[in-house]
């Protein structure tokens, strides 16, 4: 991919939570890139640091959490300053509440959260909450913002947006709320949309509709999507590339086909074994394997490879001693495991 297509480069990102009980190393050296227009899936068991990655990029990590190391370089395209001009900004160096970061947040990088109900203020209309984002980042008045909000709701497949823009969240179904939140996220035409498990709160039918909607919106608007999920089936539908996280690190990164047909890391392989396959008859269906053991407690990271206590292919004296290297096994396919050294 051409270098000017790079949108975000995350290098050695470490985000820790300093609690009384100890330090939680939620992210412990995360590296990956996001390209313009790319849909990148971030998968892993719950607690592996997916949401913290999203919050770190947006610089909204809650206290007592803090980015302690690493860089998040944002390649911002300057529209007014001649085409093709690109400005490099290290987001980790910005004041999280300062004007520079706030100009990026919501405008360039937007969030679609996990629970649309809890993520909308119950005492403000969705119109109010969407217009607010529009007026914040675009130089438009109330009336114009409202027109844009209605247009965005319409694009997000929200029925009768003109009449229902003044609804309160509790008057809408879960699917409509999520459409409203997506409209809000896209209202300022961001170059990156971070969707943090956007469909976990929805039923299967609605989930399918929302996923279809997001794909078609991406097709029309061309933004990149960082799609966070623990559901590999959703990844297969949505994403071009996948990063697999385990205990605050990326353990494998590959195009989606390679992840499904040629997984390298034992953790990825185990994840794949734990999902049911379509087309299998119930009788023939193999016993679904869940990954043995549980994620170790977040205060104490195992020595060597963090996955070794649960790994079926671990090598005594190696995996529990040395940090596995980050290897490129095939072009575009990287894995953090000694088996491929």
């Amino acid at each position: 991919m051409k270098q000017d297509q790079l949108l975000i480069a995350i290098k050695n990102l470490k985000t820790y939570f300093f609690l009384d009980e100890g330090t939680v190393r939620a992210l412990d050296g995360v590296d990956f890139d996001i390209w313009r227009g790319q849909t990148i899936g971030v998968v892993g068991e719950s607690g592996c640091g997916k949401s913290v990655t999203a919050r770190s990029i947006l610089r909204i990590v809650p206290r007592p959490g803090r980015i302690v190391d690493g860089t998040i370089t944002f390649y911002r395209r300057l529209h007014d300053n001649g085409a093709g001009q690109i400005e490099e900004i290290d987001l980790t160096k910005l004041d999280p509440t300062g004007p520079e970061m706030r100009n990026i947040r919501g405008a360039e990088i937007a969030l679609v959260p996990q629970e649309p109900m809890a993520s909308l203020s119950p005492v403000h209309t969705i119109g109010n909450q969407i217009c607010e984002a529009i007026m914040l980042h675009q130089k438009v008045g109330k009336e114009e913002a409202r027109v844009k909000a209605i247009e965005m709701l319409d694009r997000a497949g929200f029925p009768q947006p003109k009449q229902r823009i003044d609804s309160y969240p509790h008057q809408l179904s879960g699917g409509l709320r999520q459409r409203a939140v997506i409209a809000m996220g896209l209202s300022c035409h961001p170059s990156l949309l971070i969707a943090d498990e956007p469909t976990t709160a929805l039923d299967v039918t609605t989930e399918a509709q929302i996923l279809r909607l997001m794909r078609s919106l991406q097709h029309d608007l061309g933004m990149a999507i960082m799609f966070i999920t623990h559901n590999l089936g959703v990844v297969a539908q949505m994403c071009e590339d996948v990063v697999v996280m385990y205990m605050g690190r990326i353990v494998e990164e590959a195009p989606v086909d390679d992840i499904f047909h040629n997984p390298k890391h034992p953790y990825t392989q185990a994840l794949l074994r734990s999902i049911p396959r379509l087309g299998q008859k119930t009788k023939e269906r193999r016993q679904l394997e869940s990954i043995r053991g549980t994620v170790p407690d977040p205060y104490t990271r195992p020595r060597g490879c963090a996955f070794h206590p649960r790994c079926t292919q671990r090598i005594r004296g190696v995996c529990d001693q040395t940090e596995p290297p980050w290897l490129e096994v095939e072009p575009g396919h990287k894995v953090r495991c000694v088996l491929y050294g």
């Binding site: 909204i60 706030r102 947040r105 996990q114 203020s121 119950p122 403000h124 984002a133």
Partner: protein, 329 residues
């Protein structure tokens, strides 16, 4: 919304009726009545009261008659003629006795309430958004002391200092010459000069409590996903805090308006006694101890009705600020 209010108002009528019965029965419960002790008192002082006069009084209040007759006489007087009966101890109509006192009490309490909210809310918001900062600790300690120190003690301390150090005459709500004077601009000014001490004392308690409530409620809200999404939009901290979580954290204030209204009248009795304020608290206390039944009954009734009205106001306010309640069918 209008339907909601109308329904609530209609529901109030039977409630108030029931309350009036209970108030009346409650003041009838103690053995004997005022007349017996009044006449006995006069006789021991050697005065002779005509049996006829006694009977007249008894007839007027229906004292010898069944309770329900007395009740009907009492309540119909209030509703039809605005006649709250006669205070037996003060020998004056109840209406004249408590009218001004209620006005003064409401002014005093309302001013203290507003002052305390005005101070408490910003401090509470600061404390919550700067949790565990030095100022938060300082504010917490001060507000704990404010909650802990009894109001009457504070009243005594402030009176002592105002009188000895500042040479101010601080008891009461008026200077001597204005106590029984009719209302005039000078009288209002005189009242304002006296008002600040009770307001200060009442506000200290209210403010301390208000800080605790605001801080605790806001802390609950600050980590909610809707705050995070507002932040992710790029809103400035100041704007998003006041628009979203504070708005929701303040709901409890609206629901307490209900009982505040009643405690406005009866509350602060102790402080009023200490500061000898012409508010309702001390008079109510006295009426209850001396079985001055019409006075006491009027207080009970007014307080209960105020509580009912207060609850209604609270509910309307809550529905007004919270669409989840307003739009519920």
């Amino acid at each position: 919304m209008l339907v909601y209010i109308a329904r609530r108002v209609l529901l109030m009528i039977p409630t108030i009726f029931l309350i009036s019965i209970i108030s009346f029965v409650a003041i009838q419960l103690p053995p004997g009545d005022f007349m017996t002790s009044y006449v006995a008192g006069l006789r021991t002082m050697g005065e002779n009261i005509e049996q006829e006069a006694i009977d007249n009084l008894r007839e007027r209040y229906g004292l010898g008659q069944p309770v329900y007759v007395q009740y009907i006489k009492w309540i119909s007087g209030i509703i039809l003629r605005g006649d709250w009966g006669q205070s037996m101890e003060w020998q004056k109509p109840v209406k004249d006795l408590i009218g001004e006192r209620i006005l003064l009490t409401v002014v005093l309490s309302l001013v203290s309430l507003l002052v305390s909210w005005f101070i408490a809310i910003p401090i509470g918001v600061y404390s919550a958004t700067h949790q565990y900062s030095i100022l938060d600790y300082v504010m917490s300690i001060i507000s704990f002391i404010g909650v802990g120190v009894p109001g009457f003690l504070l009243a005594l301390i402030i009176m002592y200092f105002a009188q000895t150090r500042l040479n101010l005459n601080v008891g009461g709500l008026f200077s001597q010459e204005y106590i029984n004077a009719p209302w005039s601009v000078e009288r209002v000014i005189d009242m304002l000069k006296h008002l600040w001490i009770p307001v200060l004392i009442l506000a200290v308690e209210g403010t301390a409590g208000g800080i605790r409530t605001t801080r605790a409620n806001l802390l609950d809200e600050l980590n909610k996903p809707y705050v995070e999404l507002a932040r992710a939009k790029g809103l400035s901290e100041w704007k998003l805090i006041w628009k979203y979580p504070v708005r929701i954290a303040l709901n409890p204030f609206f629901s307490t308006v209900g009982w505040s209204l009643a405690s406005l009248i009866s509350g602060a009795t102790l402080i009023s006694v200490v500061l000898s304020l012409q508010t309702t608290g001390p008079m109510q206390l006295r009426a209850l101890t001396s079985q001055d039944m019409y006075l006491a009954g009027s207080f009970l009734l007014i307080l209960s009705v105020l509580t009912v009205i207060g609850t209604l106001i609270s509910d309307i306010l809550l529905a007004w600020v919270d669409p989840r309640i307003r739009l519920e069918k």
